[in-house]
Amino acid sequence: MEAKVISKQDLATWIDALVKQYEVIAPVTEDGVVVFRQVSGLSEMTIEGMVGPAKSLREHFTPPTETLFDYKLEDLSAEVIPPENEERHRVIFGARACDAATLLYVGAVYSNVEPIDTAYFMRREKTYLVGLFCNKPAWSCFCTEVGDFLTNPVAMDVYLTDLGNRYYAEPLTPKGEELIGLGNFRPADENDKVANEEIRQKALERLPKRAEHETACLSYDWDHPVWTELAKKCLSCGACAFLCPTCHCFDIQEHPKLKKGSRYRCWDTCQFEKFTLMASGHNPRETRKERTRQRVFHKFKYSQERYCMLGCVGCGRCIAACPVNIDIRRVLEELEKTAVAK
């Protein structure tokens, strides 16, 4: 599909057109934190000069708390009321390539066994992604080590690159073409293509080179001393997992109010001590050693064994957020030293 260009002056009008037809979700700075929120125009958005990862898109596909159903109890029977689905078709604007890549992985998890997660796929179906190339990847980014989706995006409809005074726009799907059709775009010329290439090259230079995690990870060492080391400092908070766009674990809880109530699901993580606590009182991941191992193995070993994919998109959010500077890249390095040697 043909690449197009839109000037920065015309951007606002394009967004206005999108807002008319869709619910538009974009990065917004709220009390100093960049979060993806519904917007009504360009002026609310933070898309320029954003270094490093904003909060991921995860909450827009799997909300931190989601009602599964409400119920009413009458004598011996119960009435179950399914939640209302009135979400409009929506455009997520300014999504990062890593976040989009997440959708393939999480999609694989949620469709792996019957019944598939309909709420998740319903949201996916109603969402069009307008991605934004990362001109200046953050210190914690390492997406190039786990895939090439930064330059070959997946799961997006349009891919934008900031060329300074204009955006380079690649439609990747027919839906993406339609979205572009709503704005004042012109075809990209040679000049634009060269500028786009240059900016991409510059960004790539900031990132680590592709690593062979796929092969190394499968032979990771279960009893590696790194687990004991990590366990000493890890606080078992859930910051790493709750910020991770590929983490998808949830708990199901109930909120009874006398004769009615609701059942909901909410994020949960293997980093919490009670995550694997069984009714018998036994906890197979009792100490932090087992818990830190689970997080890394789930992403780099089990995911491959099960879905032939890595479960990490290299967004670096866990690295930037960890209160005690547990850096998953360094953990991998440690593990791979022995894995490769084997």
Binding site: K55, K233, C237, C266, A321, N325
Partner: protein, 311 residues
């Protein structure tokens, strides 16, 4: 400090030295646990040493005597842990550093973090070396906000002190953050907190990093969660935060860790400072100052209670 750590391990006086090690980037340090004397050189001391390591102290002391590297502000949590019977004074060797202030990572917003080579103290703030040269970030911007109101020339409790006491000139009131909130109408204040708490994802990093949050089982983890739901709606989040503020009242030493680690940028110090102010006004006490004093909210003195309800 490294020398002392080495001696303590060599003589077998302590089993472990808890300190700061080089992190995965020049502007990050990471907690380290030194058990062998030959590893003592891994200890570092610079403006990136922001963590309050005393969060590890209870566990460490259970394994034997432990030494710990602390800043003056962090040392106050040791006082709290002692007065709340969480550790014994004799089980810890306090290696107290003199501290000009620690790095506020947000101060580096305009610097390309991927380029940073080193972070050092400088007489007028913090010096950041990058590929492009050296930038001096002035104190008011470079230091964590708690450092700007710090009054501690040196550690209030110590076994060995390193560095000279620092003459302090706080440039900001401890309660600066809450002045603005206190002026708000209750309705406005409610709206303010509702907006903040709406962002909370309940990762509990604030709780996990807090040396004062040491309950074996937190009320939020109780399986029967009828009054504090696990859901992230504003009410449940609100309940979580206010309960935590109440639970840490009288023991929060204002290390600022909970606010630092919150990935959602929730200004938790505004809650903490408010509680500290209330405790000071009501009980005349300040957490982290006197290891001999009984815990503020764990004591009843009916005779001298100014509250008429007790009569």
């Amino acid at each position: 400090m490294r020398q002392k750590a080495k001696e303590l391990l060599e003589s077998g006086e302590v089993k472990v030295v808890i300190g700061y090690g080089q992190g995965s980037a020049p502007f990050k340090s990471t907690p380290i646990f030194i058990e062998k004397p030959e590893d003592a050189h891994k200890l570092i001391w610079n403006p990136t040493c922001v963590n309050n390591l005393t969060v590890y102290l209870r566990d460490a002391c259970r394994q034997g005597k432990a030494a710990i590297v602390v800043k003056p502000c962090d040392a106050r949590s040791i006082i709290e842990l002692i007065r709340e019977n969480q550790i014994e004074r004799d089980d810890v060797v306090i290696l107290a550093m003199s501290c000009p202030g620690v790095l506020n990572l947000d101060a580096l917003a305009e610097i390309d973090l991927a380029d940073v080579k080193s972070v050092e103290w400088h007489q007028s703030g913090i010096a950041i070396k990058t590929n492009a040269g050296e930038t001096i970030i002035p104190s008011e911007k470079a230091f964590a906000s708690k450092c700007l109101s710090c009054e501690l020339a040196e550690s209030p409790i110590a076994d060995k002190k390193f560095g000279e006491p620092i003459e302090r000139h706080p440039i900001r009131s401890k309660y600066a953050d809450i002045e603005e909130l206190e002026k708000m109408l209750p309705k406005e204040r409610r709206a303010y907190w509702a907006r903040q708490f709406a962002r909370c994802i309940r990762c509990y990093a604030c709780r996990s990093v807090c040396p004062g949050c040491y309950c074996k089982e937190c009320f939020t983890d109780k399986p029967c969660q009828l009054w504090v739901l696990r859901s992230t709606d504003v009410e449940s989040n609100w309940f979580f935060h206010f309960s935590r503020a109440m639970h840490t009242a009288g023991r929060c030493i204002a290390c600022g860790e909970c606010e630092r680690v919150c990935p959602m940028g929730i200004p938790l110090m505004r809650l903490n400072q408010k509680m500290r102010k209330e405790v000071r006004e009501m009980f005349g006490e300040e957490a982290g100052t006197n290891p001999e004093a009984p815990p503020t909210l764990g004591t009843f003195d009916l005779k001298n209670d100014p509250d008429p309800c007790s009569e």
